[in-house]
């Protein structure tokens, strides 16, 4: 929806940002936004997209200085404005929404007062008028019982509700430009969709232009008119969204698009006795409470039955709080179930039972957060080597050989073995974690959100590596993820969970193309998948 008049709301030309020691973080970027237009800046972490956005209204961290370039907003050169004048601009003409809902609202101040602050500063409305306007806006963002919300404190609201309140706060002053810095990254797919739709609706009503910053390409592609791709502080390419996605001109853009997960081939899984069986699994979390108040335990898993065949990759999907991680940890043996059975190769896996020793050798786990999956005090070689302790008949030389071999398998250079985790990138650390899991040739791996903490391109490489290793070693895998696009690429079978129960289970194509359960449909609808890229968002 390209605005026809040429006078753009914001012109950024040759903007360069650098640290005190001269190291440039953003190199001469230029772009402009027309009034009411919705533009997205996409890039991986460290591309300088957030820094650029925040510097537009002078909120860059004190250590960063603008060394060149101009920012013209509504005909005014922002960089020449005095601090007071710039402050007048903020809040009234340019609003902002942040990424982390948990810490972006002042925990010790009621919602009403936080919303009122901007209004009181920039308008001459009486308190009563302001209150009315706030209540009206809260209703617009679908907060139940707005009057009560005014005197409530932030911690009483869910992440999605807080993001809506942030949106209300920014839109109260009808800014002409809204900067949204990763507004929904921390939210569930379903909630993410609601907040994005709301933002589009509000900004269109008030004719507010939106500068959206995100690393989630499909989500940006769905909502924005034009897109700018940034890499290492430079703008690689900027074009109308449809054109950019269908005919990318630059290699990096192509690499980004290619990294989007696409549906993988259908694989024939030989029918065989299941390697892992779970019958009627129940797990309760003690509700805590002191010596006195004994609250009833919280039931996380309400009777789970599933089978995993040898060599099969089963995906476990669901929103946060669905219990998928709990199930994964229970199956791996990290959590003690309150009822039901878990059998591995037909035998129980309880700690003291005879199946336990074999299960410990045959089942390994890959974790989500690369930062906490490796012991910071141990070298990479030592961490991988630890998995080999207790392997019968392994001389130190054989052990070293085995470590180098597995590092090679995850395409990491041999010299990484002597380096420490904090010296590696997120992707490299996850490769080490996978190496540690496969080095003992386990028959079964539980992967708990292995790629969700990674950047787009790195995620693609890791998924591809994982698939390779799986097919070469033939281990079966329980793959837990909230990202349907990833699941679509890697899974043979999909299990959908909600509130501790399995709502639907079946082969990947069956579940993706002909979902039976409403919740599955809702999940699929919410997840922006590049598969059938269409601007459905823009046509109401």
């Amino acid at each position: 929806m390209q605005k026809n008049d040429t006078s753009s709301l914001l012109q950024v030309s040759g903007l360069t940002l650098a640290l005190a020691d001269g190291k440039a973080l953003v190199h001469g970027i230029s772009f402009d936004i027309a009034p009411g237009e919705m533009i997205g800046i996409v890039g991986e972490s460290g591309s300088g997209k957030t820094l650029a956005a925040r510097s537009l209204i002078g909120l860059a961290p004190p250590a960063v200085h603008r060394t060149a370039g101009s920012i013209v907003f509504d005909g005014q050169e922002v960089t020449a404005l005095s601090a007071g004048a710039l402050r007048k601009l903020r809040g009234s003409r340019i609003g902002m929404v942040f990424q982390e809902p948990m810490t972006s609202l002042n925990p010790s101040m009621a919602i009403g007062r936080q919303l009122d602050e901007g209004l009181a500063l920039h308008t001459t409305l009486s308190p009563a008028q302001r209150r009315a306007r706030i209540l009206e806006m809260l209703e617009r963002v679908r907060i139940q019982d707005p009057a009560a919300a005014l005197s409530a404190y932030p911690h009483r609201f869910s992440g999605g509700m807080r993001q809506r309140i942030m949106l209300a706060s920014a839109m109260l002053l009808r800014p002409s430009l809204l900067i949204a810095d990763e507004p929904t990254t921390a939210l569930d797919a379903v909630v993410q969709r609601e907040v994005m739709d709301l933002m589009v609706e509000l900004t269109r009503d008030h004719g507010t232009a939106v500068l959206m910053i995100s690393h989630d390409l499909p989500m940006v592609a769905r909502y924005t008119d034009r897109m700018v791709v940034m890499h290492h502080g430079r703008i690689v390419e900027s074009n109308r969204t449809a054109a950019l996605v269908s005919a990318p001109r630059e290699d990096y853009t192509r690499k980004l698009l290619a990294a989007m997960p696409t549906r993988g081939p259908v694989r024939e899984i030989p029918q065989a006795a299941p390697i892992l069986e779970v019958d009627g699994l129940v797990l309760d979390f003690p509700a805590g409470g002191g010596l006195l108040s004994k609250r009833p335990p919280k039931r996380a898993l309400k009777g789970i039955d599933l089978r995993i065949a040898p060599g099969e990759v089963v995906a476990l999907v669901g929103g946060s709080g669905s219990g998928k991680t709990t199930l994964g940890r229970a199956i791996a043996g990290l959590l003690q179930p309150s009822g039901g059975r878990i059998l591995f190769e037909g035998k129980g896996i309880a700690r003291r039972s005879e199946g336990w020793a074999r299960y410990r050798a045959q089942c390994q786990m890959v974790f989500q957060d690369p930062a906490s999956s490796l012991d910071p005090r141990m070298t990479v070689g030592a961490s991988i080597g630890e998995a080999l302790t207790g392997m019968p008949g392994l001389t130190p030389a054989a052990r070293r050989g085995r470590i180098l071999e597995v590092l090679q398998e995850v395409s990491l250079p041999a010299e990484v073995a002597s380096r420490y985790p904090h010296e590696l990138s997120g992707g490299q650390r996850q490769r080490v974690a996978i190496a540690r899991a496969v080095v003992r040739r386990p028959a079964f791996i539980v992967a708990d959100e292995p790629v969700s903490a990674l950047d787009v391109t790195v995620r693609a490489q890791i998924l591809e590596l994982f698939a390779q290793l799986q097919s070469r070693h033939g281990f079966s895998c329980l793959f837990i993820s909230h990202d349907l696009a990833v699941v679509e690429q890697i899974a043979d079978r999909v299990i959908v969970m909600r509130h501790g129960e399995i709502v639907e289970q079946g082969p990947r194509d069956e579940v993706f193309d002909r979902p039976h359960h409403d919740y599955t449909r809702e999940l699929l609808a919410a997840a922006p998948r590049m598969g059938g890229l269409v601007h459905d968002a823009m046509t109401p």
Binding site: M96, L105, N106, S108, G118, L292
Partner: protein, 314 residues
């Protein structure tokens, strides 16, 4: 709210009991017999036996403990072996003396240190910050009793402005009592300010790093409003807890400052009764200090929701 108080006191009961019991048995195990101390070097066996019976020291330790414990529950902490005064009134009188100095000192120190700490955090690595932090570190490094001694020498002996030593109770002569308090309070204020500046600065730095400060700035608020309305209230929570901690520690142990300024405070009473093996007074002091410690933490926690509403619902 009452339920919260009762629950806290019940939670503290085991700790109080354990420390009470531990003190009871430890002081009886270390050598030194209060009766012998009373009678001096010429304690003949017979009068020693009389005294032991009178003080109840001849019974077995368990019986002595249960006796003391039952009486303690009724608020009777027994009599001092040395002076025969009831322990409770003895401890309270001395506590009032120490408390008056400690509360004034900590209040003053907090009034100076907390704003200073926050300003230092706000102007991080600026000249103000470096100046304040260095001053705090120097103050922190000077032992309070040496500081007291030097102040005493300078203001008392050399300049003679302030009364050097001794203690006048408020009841007798309020003005004189105030002059006696100046030096001990000054000693504590200087020392505690050092500690509190660093604490306030650290917790303010934590807060300034969070998103809602940038959010506040994005609303166009002035730096002053951001600091006062947003940073101050949230940073004060953790600092407030630490002030409670500092208060608790000081009340139990400024014996050394009391020695320098000859103040008949709780610390001095504890030390003298330890040297005199005055068992009931030692136990009374320690129990009282532990109880005050619990009370202060309770008050700190009760006021905490003022700074952080999330806690209110706990």
């Amino acid at each position: 709210m009452l339920r919260f108080v009762v629950r806290r006191l019940l939670a503290a009961a085991p700790t109080l009991f354990i420390s009470g019991a531990a003190v009871f048995f430890l002081i009886r195990l270390i050598p030194g017999d209060p009766a012998a101390l009373l009678l001096g070097d010429q304690a003949d066996a017979a009068s020693l036996a009389d005294l032991h019976r009178r003080l109840g020291l001849d019974q077995g330790l368990p019986t002595q403990f249960s006796l003391w414990f039952q009486r303690m529950l009724h608020g009777d902490l027994g009599q001092s072996i040395r002076t025969g005064e009831p322990v409770l009134s003895l401890v309270i009188d001395h506590f009032v003396v120490s408390a008056r100095i400690v509360f004034v000192a900590v209040a003053l120190a907090a009034a100076i240190a907390v704003p200073a700490g926050m300003l230092a955090a706000w102007r991080q690595n600026g000249k103000l910050d470096i100046g304040l932090v260095s001053a705090a570190t120097v103050l922190l490094s000077i032992p309070s009793f040496w500081l007291g001694l030097m102040l005493l020498y300078l203001f008392g002996l050399e300049l003679g402005w302030l009364p050097v030593i001794g203690y006048v109770d408020f009841s007798e002569d309020p003005v004189a009592a105030l002059t006696y308090m100046v030096l001990p309070v000054a000693t504590l204020v200087l020392h505690e300010t050092g500690i509190l500046i660093r604490m306030a600065r650290a917790s303010t730095l934590e807060v300034l790093r969070l998103d809602y400060i940038t959010y506040a700035r994005s609303k166009g608020l002035s730096e002053g409003a951001v600091l006062w309305r947003h940073a101050f209230r949230n940073a004060f929570g953790p600092t407030w807890t630490l002030i409670g901690l500092v208060l608790g520690n000081l009340l139990g142990g400024i014996a050394v400052v009391e020695t320098v300024f000859t103040i008949p405070g709780l610390g001095r009473l504890l030390v003298d009764s330890i040297f005199g093996r005055d068992y009931p007074v030692i136990q009374g002091c320690l129990l009282f200090v532990a109880f005050v410690y619990v009370l202060i933490n309770l008050v700190v926690d009760l006021l905490y929701p003022l700074f952080d509403p999330r806690v209110a619902e706990a």
